[in-house]
Subunit: 371 residues, 2 copies
Amino acid sequence: MSTPLERFSGVIPAGGVGSRLWPLSRADAPKFLHDLTGSGRTLLRGTWERLAPIAGPERVMVVTGRAHRAAVEAQIPELEDRNIVLEAAPRESTVAIGLAAAILRRREPDVIVGSFAADHVIADEAAFRAAVEQAVVAADAGYIATIGIQPTEPAIGFGYIECADAAHIEGAPDALLVRSFVEKPDEATAARYLADGRHLWNAGMFIARADRLLEQIGAFDAQLRAQLEELAEAWDDPATRGPAVDRLWPGLRRIAIDYAVAEPAAAAGGLAVIPGRFDWDDVGDFASVAKLKSAGRASDLSILGENARVLADASSGIVVSQSDRIISLIGVRDIVVVDTPDALLVTTTANAQRVKGVVDALKLSGRDDVL
Amino acid sequence: MSTPLERFSGVIPAGGVGSRLWPLSRADAPKFLHDLTGSGRTLLRGTWERLAPIAGPERVMVVTGRAHRAAVEAQIPELEDRNIVLEAAPRESTVAIGLAAAILRRREPDVIVGSFAADHVIADEAAFRAAVEQAVVAADAGYIATIGIQPTEPAIGFGYIECADAAHIEGAPDALLVRSFVEKPDEATAARYLADGRHLWNAGMFIARADRLLEQIGAFDAQLRAQLEELAEAWDDPATRGPAVDRLWPGLRRIAIDYAVAEPAAAAGGLAVIPGRFDWDDVGDFASVAKLKSAGRASDLSILGENARVLADASSGIVVSQSDRIISLIGVRDIVVVDTPDALLVTTTANAQRVKGVVDALKLSGRDDVL
């Protein structure tokens, strides 16, 4: 009999553009295809390198848009053909993860799937692995498992997981039951969450037996489950996949897995969380990029870009350079400068979240060429 | 007998690069070749259009570097061939103005020359003309005349002219004698100058009979005067000009006309000033560009650039765009963004004077390609 970890498969949904990282992130160059840490590897590659040693490289599946196939394959030459799932059009996380689970379960009925965003950053791979191992055990015990991140500050940019009592799962000593998932809080609430010790950041990591996950999707939306199963049945045969996608894809419901799976499972007492004791960042905006790159030293000027040529005097914040232009900063503090061939952004770390507003404005004004 | 104004010739020394306006101003695109007011005309063109109606278009001479000949001619198609003086190499203002004076005097012994920088901004052309007319009368009376600008704030970026008593010149009722020229003051001194009503900004405008000007140069440096006269003698004959330039140019002394002419003349009681009651700006840095462009409304974001495409939210200062890139600003106040094809500057209006330091640093690091 195989161990739970031997039955574990990783799933990497590689979808979001990362609007708050415009003009670096674009529809044709989404966040997961960028090196936002200066490590020399893209976020997608980093996610792969964290996950492949745990699941095995032949047991990691990437779900992405058709437009990104070549880029994903270039980033992960090890990725097997049958492990890249191309979405005909974006359909949110329940479809991405649910379809992967359904395909993998047809190949291996007792598979345990674990889904991890393609565009997050985790430095401590050993601690990550330890948490995944416990989550896999919890999943094998029938839970929808997640890994919540121990907060280090009263962040208002993340959703939170409210923990309940210990789950008492053999082999997963840290597992707690989850009382509820809560939306991004205001500052006072975030401070309370940090103080009470019962709240973890929701990093969107979900680990479950594939059959359990599909059951949960079916309980929420029976039609969606049926569509996903039908797609999965057709998937591995080139003759049937295309027609099934053409027939079913347009009608697939767009819904986040938090709503379709996590919240209902938590409400039913079926969700367990492993507290992750490692630095994690969703690199959601340029303030977060600056913080990561400078290791938290706000007085520094971080510079991202292979050919960056920056001349700075009395300046701090971050410069992202995608050109070989000379970039000169004088006396600008907490500045964000993102220099790309067709668009330039100048803001401050305090305003980093507002970048999405620019993207919305550009959309409204029909300037999709720079999005 | 001709009137003094009929004997007046304008001289426009078009030399300085304008380092504080980098990366807009460059060795090959100096400040005077830019439209810094958004008026649709370059500073040089503006200077010409102020001066030509007073002197007559055939009586304005431009002194510039050989590299700028084509650009100057493109800006001023009306400029007569014999009225463009090309410098073999930069030699500061005494040579530029003194040579023009010497050439013009050989053509017309009793000419009165008036020199006006190519890269200043004056909006009220009628008030400017009125001041020039009085200065020409003062020059005809034997004075080295200047036009000083009535200060409107305690500026520390300009030199000042300290006025003495009325000069009592018929036809120049506003003319005052000049006690001295003073260097850029500190803030306390500038405040005192503003309060005492006896100090005017030195706008570098000098009007004098050509023979008087050359006499004053000769009194300061007899050799320099002799060199200028020798050049002038050879100038209007193509057969003799080249050899004279080759022989004499390398040895010409580099000295500002303020030191060689204005200060000694003031000390000898031979300098008269006409107070100019018009807005004047030397557009010395981007703070000054921003102020000019926004008519002093500091809350505004000024935008310079024919094809500028700027998306700004809660931002003020100035954007200079020389590309068709989308430039997006979010929450940056008093910002200066200068976007050119090979160099980008981000600073604040308060730091605008420090731009010269970047240029110096680029020079030191051998990055002359962007200077």
